[in-house]
Symmetry: C6
């Protein structure tokens, strides 16, 4: 019966590997020492679960939109080499009823319990609960199911590590979900000019002079040396800029408007 369970698990992992790989396609740029610290801390939790004294451990990755939460969670999961890894994403539940979502979550946890060591990555947990700020509205059933599943003791000799990502830490707090995680990791934006320079460097799309010009123009337009934009938006902006005749100019304009948008949304 154990062998049979293993068989059921393997193909799941095969599919997961491809799915997880897709999330780190843009690579992990070490634009700040924090990136390393984050990956180190994750290794600690992985070892704690591997040792077996803690049957279930849950970790929330939270940070601004596009800061790289999903990519980092995928990387952590892949590096663990646990036999069962599953990415739970709202994308795979488009068109599901609340009940179907809950049943799917329940099934994923029951699948995980078939393996001795499992990781479940729950992506965009606020979308999974259909959170919309107006109202506010959200799926009560999915929320309660998540609360219950996070705390559920696995069967004997089974260990489960849960990573969840969210842009809405304060929402999860209001929903009384955040404090149910055993630990949390903050994922930062690209915040300073040196960090931004690091990213541009590695993109290979800018000469040293273009890089300086772009950063200078951004400072001029926004009137500040603060950046505060997610790595994802920066990588997309680089690609848009490449289509323009004036690459650094276009990059500066796109970045500046992203910086302003972020600022206004936080004040």
């Amino acid at each position: 019966d154990f062998l049979h369970a293993l068989e059921e698990v393997k193909p799941l992992f095969g599919a997961a590997e491809e799915e997880l790989g897709q999330r780190v396609r843009g690579g992990i740029i070490h634009f700040s020492p924090f990136i390393n610290d984050i990956l180190e801390e994750a290794r600690l939790f992985i070892n704690q679960v591997r040792k077996g004294s803690t049957p279930v451990l849950s970790v929330a990755l939270h940070g601004p939109p596009g800061s790289g939460k999903t990519a980092l969670a995928a990387k952590m999961a892949m590096d663990s080499e646990f036999p069962f890894i599953k990415l739970v994403s709202p994308e795979d539940m488009v068109g599901f009823s609340e009940m179907q979502k809950v049943q799917q979550l329940d099934k994923i946890f029951r699948d995980a319990y078939k393996s001795t060591l499992s990781i479940i990555v729950i992506d965009n947990i606020e979308l999974l609960v259909d959170w919309v700020p107006i109202g506010p509205r959200f799926s009560n059933s999915v929320l309660v199911a998540l609360k219950v599943l996070l705390a559920k003791p696995p069967p004997k000799d089974r260990r489960l590590l849960i990573f969840a990502t969210t842009t809405e830490r304060s929402v999860l707090t209001q929903l009384d979900l955040f404090s149910r995680f055993d630990a949390d990791i903050a994922v930062p934006n690209v915040n300073s000019q040196p960090e931004l320079a690091q990213v541009l460097q590695q993109s290979g799309a800018f000469s040293d002079r273009d890089q300086q010009r772009a950063i200078g123009e951004i400072q001029e337009i926004t009137g500040s040396s603060d950046v505060g934009v997610g790595i994802k938006k920066i990588l997309t902006a680089i690609e848009t800029a490449k289509e323009d005749q004036d690459v650094p100019g276009r990059f500066a304009r796109v970045m500046s408007s992203a910086i302003s948008a972020n600022r206004s949304s936080f004040t």
Copy 2:
């Protein structure tokens, strides 16, 4: 299997061409240089996606009612010559349940992923989510589905460009949907007397004197030289005026009341 997929896609495009054509039946009048800028910017995004470095890119066209958002989005899509183009319009979902809408959207995205290069035009996104200002009310399921689909990574070697139109930028912001677009384009009203003159000129319904008289009377009635009316309403007003014995007089009255209505709705 790829050939089969192509076959499925072709007729979709055939139908789309006719549907899209219908939206630009009134032509594109270049009443201001902005019209050209808008079309240029769209070409940039189309090329970025064509090049392949950005697997999915989404652009929101926003502007006042009747300003020409749908016509422009249709024009952009047709000019791209991408093999798959699909117009998603609330008109085609009248009588659908929330779930059916979500499933239809999901299907359209899955269809798009069958082609290497695809464009989806989502028209009137605020009606698609059943937005009504009283309450406010809207379809949570459709909204969350849109959020999720906008961010979903396409399969390997597939690229997707999304254009969405809306009169309700601030609503989308409140719903935390607007910031999920990678870029946005503002579509303006016909705002000044020279722009209005340009439109009347091209309509062929006014002699030079009638044109001047009409514009003069509008200024007299509204007490201002500001216009601020969408191109769509202007074109309809021209047709109504043509039925009257006094074409410029009727046109001036209809336009004046449209101008007043817009003003009062914005203060």
Copy 3:
């Protein structure tokens, strides 16, 4: 197929003629020159659509309860002699679910597109959307369906004119529905003593002296020469009065209480 479509359409019109006729059974009394202006303006819109340059045109008739909106809309539609005319009334949808209403509306529009020239009269649009001021409550689905159908472009070579009646202009404005009509026509109450005299004259129930006495008593009771009552209530009051021994006295009392009721509901 076209012939077949025509066949489908004809009986619809036959039935419509009887239904529409029923709404003008009380006749159209020209108690004010405005009545003629209203009918003239409607002819303008009918011609605009007939000419074919405007594929779809929508007109809202709004005014106080019982002011004659339905009778006027029915008259306009019958006078157009368009091959397809359909009255959409909440009466025909009692007991329909929201979805059934939406599907019925969708069907009516699709039927209309089978004819080259069509008129749809949507009666009491605020009841069609189940509007109730407490809450407020209304059918979101029906409202959104109406918004979408009003803007939907008909197929090639088909023209559609839509008349809609409502006592709740401000409600439609709040629901963001009113501004979606291409034009609107205000239908007035019987507002002055001469207008009321005109109506009494044509009813044949009053001698000249009785008419004067009735109007005089109304002024005495209400303390004002303002009337402000819908033609429908006046015609009913005449019939009630006829059952009383003192016809003008009873008429004056009924009218006075109607006048007071209207006043208090507007302050």
Copy 4:
């Protein structure tokens, strides 16, 4: 077909007669001249409809709880001798879904249209729409159905008179239902000591002295000569008092507590 319709109608009336009779089992005590005025006014409306110039007429009977609205409406309907009379009561729809209620109402109106002269008595209209003051809550579908049915023109040569009873005039006004009635009749409480004496007289349960003692004690306990209690409660209080050794004393106590309860609920 007409004969067949008549056949369908007759048994309905037979049943109605018994049902209506049950509502006036307590008789109609003429404790005030108003009772006669009310019955007279009803006869006027009955004749108006009988004459045929007004195809549909609706009358609302409103007044405090237990004031005799249902008994009076039943009496009016029975006295009309119209061929079709139907009592619509929430009692007959216990356990119906909203849709079933609406369909039942629709059926009753369609049945009524089969007869040339019909009366529908709608009892306790606020309960029919499931009105509850907390929230407030009510059945939107039933409310809208009632609005629509009240205004629906009957088929050719058919006349319909509608009586509706309610304790909640202000609720119906808030729901925008009250003004849709063509006329309204106020039903009063037993308000003064002479009126109360009249009732006691006719009950036969009190000697002249007991009657005086009872009324005197009520005045003493409540500290006022105002009564303000519905005839229904008074008739029940008489029966309870009869079981007591001290009939007038018990009657005075029960009445006094009813009078206080009414007062506190109105301030």
Copy 5:
């Protein structure tokens, strides 16, 4: 047919007797003269219905939690010796949908009408309507059904007496349900030390000295000679105390905390 009806009724009563008996298992302790007054008043109503002049009569028993409402209502019903008695309790409807509850209530009333003399005891009416103070929430359908059924006239020659119990008099008032009862009876707590002594006496668990010590300690702890606790809680507290080595001490502590809890919940 009448005989058949009787047969249907008998077993119902048989079951009811057992069910009702269970509710007075704790006996009726006459800790105050009010208990007798309450039972006397009930006999009055029973006789009024038995005599036949009042076809339907409804009485609400209201009082604080555990004050003995259910036990008293059961006692009254059993003492009446009416041929049909039915206890309606939320316990028997756990897991019922709103509609099923309404249908069950409707059935019980229809069953009662089969007997000439019937009593229905509706227990915990606020739970029957699913009342929850937050929101507040409650079952509209069940509430309206109760209103309607309370007022429904029984068929000819049938008499119905309804007893209903509730801890939430003010809630019933807000729901506009309380005033629909023909009469009401207040059930008191054990409020004074002599009343409490009476209860302890009859429990047989306390020597005279222990009784005095317990009451003394309660006064010391709570700082007052007021009691204000329901008989039900007192009887349970006696049983808990019996398990302790120090019976009067434990009893005093449990009672004191109950007294404090009640006080804080009322201020």
Copy 6:
């Protein structure tokens, strides 16, 4: 039939034993004399029910998150050696509809009534009613079912003891559920440094010096000697710390952040 019932019950208990055992896997550390008091009080209630004078008794265990409520309730139930014990946990109802939950609860109580002596442990009662603070939202049906089941008298000769755990005492009070329990037991956090030292001692992971260093650093970081953290979080923190090179340092940091989080959530 009784034998058959016993058979049904036994396997239930077998399963329960394993389930309950899982909840006390972390053992019961006597870090404070209160732990013993709690277990003593529970024994009192168990005896009261065993004796048979109180047919149903309900006890609420309330305390902060992770304070050990579930473990203690499980321990109490296992120690009772009652023939029927059932743990009701939200985990076992993930994906159940409200109705299914209610029916499951109803079934569990009916199962319990088959045994002479039964214990039902209802874990996390606020999650069972789907409580979410935003709104707030909760399952009305489950809440009312619980209220009703808590008060339901068991059949003759059957005794039932109910333990329920909750972190949300004030929520249960708002929902008018808390006062329906016959008794309540407060479960405390680890609140002082000596209590914490006791826990660290028993974990075996710290040398005496490390223990002192850890406690000292916590006081330094948090600026206070108060602890106020649940035993569950402390045990997990010990396991995380064990993975770090600097065990006491990591433990101090994790504990300090837990202490701060608790403080901020309570002010």
